[in-house]
Amino acid sequence: MKSRTMDQESLSALMDDELTLFEKHRQLTRLMRDHELQQQWQRYHLVRDELQHHLPQQFSLDLADSVAAVVAEEPLPQSEVEKVAVTSGWRRQLAAVAMVASVAGVALIALFVTQNVERSGVPITVASGENRTEKAGASLQQMRPYLVNHTALASGLRSQGFSPYVTLVGHHRQ
């Protein structure tokens, strides 16, 4: 009985915002679970509204109950930010998948092109060390007929007053 009176006195102090934050939380939790205290909360506010001249000419006693019945069927409240986050969630996932797919696609294309180039015989890597010397020798063999033809053509052109645009460079194997 004494505890009940203390609850009611705390409720009265809560209405006046005269409790510590801890007491407010505790009293509100108690209030939300106790139907009788809720009725008292309503009546205390009714008296306050009358003393402060906020009462309408007529008022209904079952408004809170009818609102509570509708609210019980409502989904939990969400902020606009949360709504946007929920509705755009699938878009963000789709964008992430698209990005991953794009990167994978580029990688595949690059791999495909590289393999084709290597198959066509055009070197794509720089030879080093002994390999470089051997390859240079092979290239010289391939170029020799071209150089011979070019030299012959250049001498012909020089006699007609044209300068050859390629300077011949000698190649000496060590």
Binding site: E9, L28, M32, L51, Q57, D62, A64, L76
Partner: protein
């Protein structure tokens, strides 16, 4: 006098999914909201419907309430907008035309929603009569304290300093005064009209 902290605590609880906290806000502000709506709409059944719609709109939008203004100011705007929308939806002439808005509502058009009309209506003069009577019968120290609190809006500390009593005594007197009034109001509320 401000109890905005309590409102904000309740709002945060609602935002965290506690519907019982919203019920406390409704019980706290229902009379004021009815008062606001009654400035636009005359029929008590319609006022009840629009008040219900206002509170449901508030519940749906409460996720966006950040506490930048007082909860009641926010709720007040919702009640005003709901009242105006209700008037428009019923095809009534807008304010400023040759028929007064309140008269336009009296034309008896179909209601916007199918919410039940209130089963129990109380006239404020009944409440005012009872409260006035109890205040007269109340010991003077209680009457003075509750008046300083509810009418003058003074804090417990201010009351304590003004009449030179401990803050604990102020708290106790205010509670006893409220209890005296509540004991007489309760039968009226439980019985209805």
């Amino acid at each position: 006098m401000s109890d905005a902290d309590v409102d904000l605590l309740l709002v945060r609880k609602v935002q965290q999914g506690d519907k019982a906290a919203f019920d406390l806000l409704v019980r706290k502000y229902q009379n004021r909201v009815l008062g606001v709506i009654s400035q636009y709409i005359r029929h008590s059944g319609d006022i009840h419907d629009v008040a219900q719609e206002s509170f449901i709109s508030a519940y749906r939008a409460i996720g966006n309430f950040r506490g930048e203004s007082a909860f009641y100011s926010w709720l007040y705007r919702i009640a005003v907008n709901t009242s105006k929308n209700w008037i428009k939806a019923r095809g009534c002439r807008p304010p400023g035309s040759d028929i007064d808005v309140a008269d336009a509502i009296d034309y008896g058009m179909e209601p916007l929603t199918n919410y039940d009309t209130p089963d129990t209506l109380i006239h404020s003069h009944q409440v005012a009569e009872v409260i006035g009577q109890v205040m007269e019968e109340m010991p003077q120290d209680l009457r003075l304290t509750i008046t300083m609190r509810e009418v003058e809006g003074m804090s417990y500390q201010e009351i304590a300093e003004a009449i030179d009593i401990p803050v604990g005594t102020v708290r106790s007197r205010i509670f006893r005064a409220r209890e005296m009034i509540d004991n007489r109001i309760r039968p009226l509320m439980e019985g209805g009209d």
